[in-house]
């Protein structure tokens, strides 16, 4: 019996701070909970944080660099999550790795991980330089995460262009930190605005949620506990959709509309103006 080939998914955004690492951590836990053997690889060698978000920072002994230099075996470097043993982390090496790591090195590591997992999630560094290109070279498919902000959408567009030229497919999108009230008041780009502009299928929609911050403080991704917050549910749904399940998207316009939108709607209806 041969196992089906692993899904190697790059999680990238272009701009920093839009939620790549949070998505990687939550998706990793969610997939593991759904019974998938999953490895998350921190490819952000300059500014690694995936260990912190997963609460594994104190358990790191070896890292990707040691595996490449063969100072340890892959099994020794992988950090298994205590509560979700289906999930392991391969920590990033130190920042000097950026100087010598090639796309072939990256392919070698990812190839090793793909042999032992159903899903390999690569947490990509921000930017579109070597770090991104090396990570993209090793990936088969990609999730571009963005927020409804101008700079994030523009940078996501650059990344999508580069992924297309590197032959990474399919490329799907997660729209993060949407504020339904601002969207209803036309103070924030809406879901269809972003999907139209970037022309990507929407894999997930995550509303702004303070719980993300508290879960990061604890090193316990939202998908880890049973009672899920809005963002946690959204991440869980992303994992389900990745596995091919049909899960309907939440409708942000169903959220309570702001005062201005209600007032404007009323004026529009009664006067028939604009």
């Amino acid at each position: 019996m041969t196992a089906p080939p692993a899904r190697v998914i790059l999680i990238c955004s272009g701009k920093g701070g839009v939620g790549k690492t949070t998505l990687t951590a939550n998706l990793g836990i969610a997939l593991a909970r759904l019974g998938e053997t999953t490895v998350v690889l921190d490819a952000d060698f300059g500014l690694r944080n995936l260990d912190l978000l997963l609460g594994l920072e104190n358990r790191i002994v070896y890292n990707a660099q040691d595996v490449l230099e063969e100072t340890c075996r892959l099994e020794q470097a992988l950090v298994k999550h205590k509560q979700e043993p289906n999930l392991s982390l391969l920590p990033a090496g130190n920042a000097r790795m950026l100087d010598w790591l090639t796309s072939d090195d990256m392919k070698k590591i990812v190839g090793m991980l793909a042999e032992r997992a159903n899903f390999v999630l690569i947490d990509c560094p921000a930017g579109i330089e070597t770090g991104f290109r090396n990570a993209a070279a090793a990936a088969r498919e990609a999730i571009v995460i963005t927020t409804p902000e101008m700079a994030a959408v523009r940078d996501a567009d650059r990344v999508i262009g580069l992924l297309n030229t590197q032959g990474v497919a399919p490329v799907q999108m997660v729209l993060n930190r949407v504020r339904p009230k601002m969207v209803a008041n036309q103070e924030m780009l809406g879901v269809s605005d972003v999907t139209d502009i970037l022309a990507l299928p929407l894999l997930g929609l995550v509303l702004e949620d303070e719980q993300v911050i508290t879960s990061t403080n604890r090193g316990e991704p939202l998908t880890l506990n049973g009672s899920l917050s809005p963002a946690g549910r959204a991440y869980m749904n992303v994992a389900r959709r990745l596995r091919g399940e049909e899960v309907p998207l939440i409708d942000p316009s169903r959220e309570r509309r702001g005062l201005r939108a209600r007032l404007m709607g009323k004026i529009r209806r009664t006067t028939g103006l604009f």
């Binding site: 101008m150 036309q186 809406g190 605005d193 502009i197």
Partner: protein
């Protein structure tokens, strides 16, 4: 400040900021995707107008060459309203010589119906010429 914005919005003085964001993004992405800076685009626009003007008289004021983007495909869109076909001087165009190499002198403007035709078709590979004000070329 929010109240001031609201009043402006109410009075129709200001577009919602999401609309502004969408418009600005679409424009900047069209440029990003084509890797053309505004200066280069302007130079290209001038050259295109020069070439087109050799063949037809166009309304420069309302002429427009810009980038448009739809579904990740960026197109160069030229909208050049044509006033009328230019009377062709007998020895200035090689096309004419090629069209009738045996006797270039005999060709009078408007004699050869093929000459105005190639303009849109030749350029259509490069751009989508929307000659809104296209009139049948008058023969003098």
């Amino acid at each position: 400040m929010a109240l001031f914005d609201f009043l402006q919005h109410l009075l129709g003085l200001q577009k919602p900021s999401a609309t502004t964001a969408r418009e600005r993004l679409q424009l900047v992405l069209a440029h990003d995707r084509s890797d053309l800076n505004p200066e280069l685009l302007e130079r290209m626009r001038r050259e295109i107008l020069e070439v087109v003007q050799k063949y037809v008289e166009i309304d420069i004021e309302s002429g427009d060459v810009s980038l448009a983007t739809d579904d990740r495909v960026t197109a160069l869109v030229a909208n050049l309203p044509i006033r009328r076909a230019r009377p062709l001087p007998s020895n200035s165009l090689e096309t004419k010589a090629r069209a009738n190499p045996s006797n270039p002198e005999v060709l009078a403007p408007g004699d050869n119906p093929e000459i105005p035709e190639p303009i849109p078709s030749q350029s259509s590979e490069l751009m989508d010429v929307q000659d809104a004000a296209h009139e049948p070329s008058p023969s003098p």
